[in-house]
């Protein structure tokens, strides 16, 4: 797939998404909203794990921190949703930076353990402070993010556009960062930490920044969660949510831009599809687990990686074959790192 077709495809997709509220009903729009915040959440994990190679099972906690921050600020302290947006993202990013400091010394599996701890402790915090947060019952927000009066659009459509805009901004930021010097350092740290260090990359500072940005982005997803559902409870941010985000990343394709969108759509629509086939919904996580294992084994690049390979195969098939005498070598033999379409 060349650059122009790529751009056209993204533009068409975006245009369709922007115009969606004029063509589909409220139910679908709410579903889209969930896919949007899941996309941002999966992307936040992707930034950390897919691009930088740091493992995290703690992203449910970063989401939860921002979601609860927003809920408490709006419901108990009379903030507007808009005021809570930068504040909640900032809080999540700060907690992320704090978690990133030990990540300098703690690598690989041990980092996964620490973030697992974070994910398991977080749902207990609202229970500990039941008076303020409603404990296991969760808290309902009376206020909703409504459309400004001068715009004659429904609140649902407005919320959808707000979420879509923020998500596009976040993805655009990731895309541009990846192409920058910083982005290349981030990927270099994933593939060759020692070589990156030798080449003058400040590994420590980069890792902490990536952790903070990733957590802040998870926080954005948390803010979106509260805006969408007007409700938060500890069970929305358990460790299972973190595992689902990992599933979304693996299914969609880690280290890509399209992957998180595919992964989020998978996470949102597959449970409904499973129920529709008449299979007991209790079994959905079994399917998730199997898909996760099979994808990691057969399709390490996820759906996005698979699509890119397919596209490459189509485009190379039309090109003339290389001259005889010089055997064509597949790209996979030349580079050992994972493909980055």
């Amino acid at each position: 797939m060349n650059k122009t077709t790529n751009r056209i495809l993204w533009a068409v997709l975006l245009g369709a998404l922007v115009l969606a509220p004029f063509f589909v009903g409220t139910v679908e729009i709410s579903a889209f909203q969930k896919v949007i915040y899941l996309s941002v959440a999966v992307m936040s994990l992707n930034v950390l794990t897919g691009f930088n190679g740091q493992a995290s099972i703690g992203h449910s906690a970063f989401m939860g921190i921002a979601a609860y921050f927003t809920a408490l600020a709006v419901q108990s302290h009379g903030w507007s949703y808009w005021a809570a947006l930068p504040a909640s993202v900032l809080v999540a990013a700060l907690v992320g930076a704090a978690a990133g400091v030990p990540a300098l010394r703690i690598r690989g599996m041990n980092l996964a353990l620490v973030t697992l701890g974070l994910a398991m402790v977080f749902p207990q915090l609202p229970v500990r402070f039941t008076e303020e947060t409603g404990g296991t019952q969760g808290m309902i927000l009376d206020e909703s993010l409504g459309a400004p009066a001068f715009l004659a659009v429904s609140d649902v459509a407005w919320r959808y556009w707000v979420l879509l805009t923020l998500a596009v901004l976040a993805f655009w930021l990731v895309r541009n960062t990846r192409a920058s010097r910083l982005g290349r350092s981030i990927i270099a740290i994933r593939d060759q930490p020692i070589a990156a260090h030798t080449a003058g990359v400040n590994v420590a500072a980069t890792k902490i920044s990536v952790f903070a940005v990733s957590a802040g982005m998870a926080g954005l997803a948390g803010w979106m969660f509260t805006v969408t559902n007007q409700f938060v409870s500890p069970s929305d941010f358990t460790v299972l949510v973190s595992i689902n985000l990992l599933l979304g990343m693996a299914v969609g394709g880690s280290g890509t831009l399209l992957g998180p969108v595919i992964g989020a759509a998978f996470l949102h629509y597959v449970p409904d599809a499973v129920t529709a086939t008449g299979i007991d919904p209790v079994l959905t996580p079994v399917l998730y687990g199997l898909v996760l294992i099979l994808v990691v084994y057969f399709l390490p690049g996820g759906a996005a990686g698979g699509l890119a390979q397919l596209a490459k195969r189509f485009s190379t098939a039309r090109k003339p074959s290389p001259p005889a005498g010089e055997p064509a070598r597949p790209v996979s033999q030349l580079t050992s790192s994972t493909p980055n379409p």
Binding site: T49, I57, L116, I243, P285, V286, G289, I293, V296, Y297
Partner: protein, 297 residues
């Protein structure tokens, strides 16, 4: 003073269970270099098997000791099957992929247990009599004494297995130096499979012993897993005695902290385990008993 002693003793009782979970984790880590996030769920599944064998209302109604033996035997086979079918293809994969695979197992086993057995909380009988031994102002429940006794016997048996038997030595060889072991005629893959079986069996035993206190449910082992991780990290992650000692330290710390620090209380007990993991990894990443890994660059 009596209250303090009581808390220490309760902490030791819980800590031995954390140690058992940690031991299960350490066995797999030593054999295959993997951190098994599905360890708790595997133990939970086996505990449901025990419950099915022993429960009078929903199960077969066998004596509880037979039920536990059945659960442990099932655990051994279950662990071997998982290693053969799911884990072996990822033996040489990177850590991230191994982590994702065990997390996939976590999801699948958790939901499978809820579907096959029940998502409700169930009661499991204890193999030990109720009541307690009173010594001065301190009471030692038979449950606690029994748990500590059984796990100590298990630890001694494991020591014999790894120290004196042909199988145990072959297993150690297979994990320490697979190449040379292969040259000596050891079937390395089979040894790794046995390691997973053994680990799952230990988990099944821990699950059955903790079940009278926490009841049987698909989520029963999730907090225990974090305590187990804390214990394993404290013990150095590759040391079997370290896992048990680490478990006891975690148990006692947790009992004292939640007893004396009111801000933590009972709701935030897990935070103790989290803080311990963080502190150990920052201050002494090799734990109390672990070796410092030397990496050749």
């Amino acid at each position: 003073m009596a209250l303090f002693l009581q808390r220490v003793i309760d902490g030791i009782g819980n800590g031995m269970l954390y140690g058992a979970v940690a031991l299960a984790l350490v066995l797999i880590y030593r054999a295959t270099g993997m951190v098994n996030f599905a360890q708790g769920e595997m133990a939970m599944f086996c505990t449901f098997v025990t419950w099915k064998l022993a429960d009078h209302q929903f199960g077969i109604g066998l004596p509880i000791v037979v039920g536990i033996a059945g659960g442990v035997a099932f655990g051994f086979l279950f662990g071997m099957a998982l290693e053969r079918v799911v884990i072996r293809p990822f033996e040489s994969a990177d850590h991230l992929r191994q982590m994702i695979v065990t997390l996939g197992l976590f999801l699948a086993i958790n939901a499978l247990a809820a579907w096959i057995f029940t998502a409700d909380t169930q009661r499991l009988a204890s193999p030990f009599p109720s009541g307690a031994l009173h010594l001065g102002g301190v009471s030692l429940s038979y449950q606690e004494l029994g748990v500590v006794g059984v796990l100590l016997v298990m630890a001694l048996l494991l020591r014999e297995l790894f120290g004196r038997t042909r199988l145990g030595l072959a297993m150690r060889g297979a994990s320490m130096n697979p190449e040379s072991s292969r040259l000596l005629g050891v079937d390395v893959s089979r040894m790794l499979m046995v390691g997973w079986g053994l680990s799952a069996a230990i988990g099944a035993l821990a699950g059955a012993l903790v079940a009278p206190a926490v009841f049987v449910s698909p989520g029963m082992m999730q907090t225990l897993l974090l305590y187990g991780f804390a214990a394993a990290v404290l013990g150095g992650f590759d040391s079997a005695p370290g896992a048990l000692v680490g478990g006891v330290v975690v148990g006692v710390t947790q009992a004292l902290v939640s007893g004396y620090v009111s801000a933590i209380g009972t709701q935030l007990q897990l935070a103790t385990a989290f803080a311990l993991i963080l502190a150990v990894l920052l201050v002494r990443p090799q734990g109390l008993f672990g070796r410092v890994p030397v990496e050749r660059v």
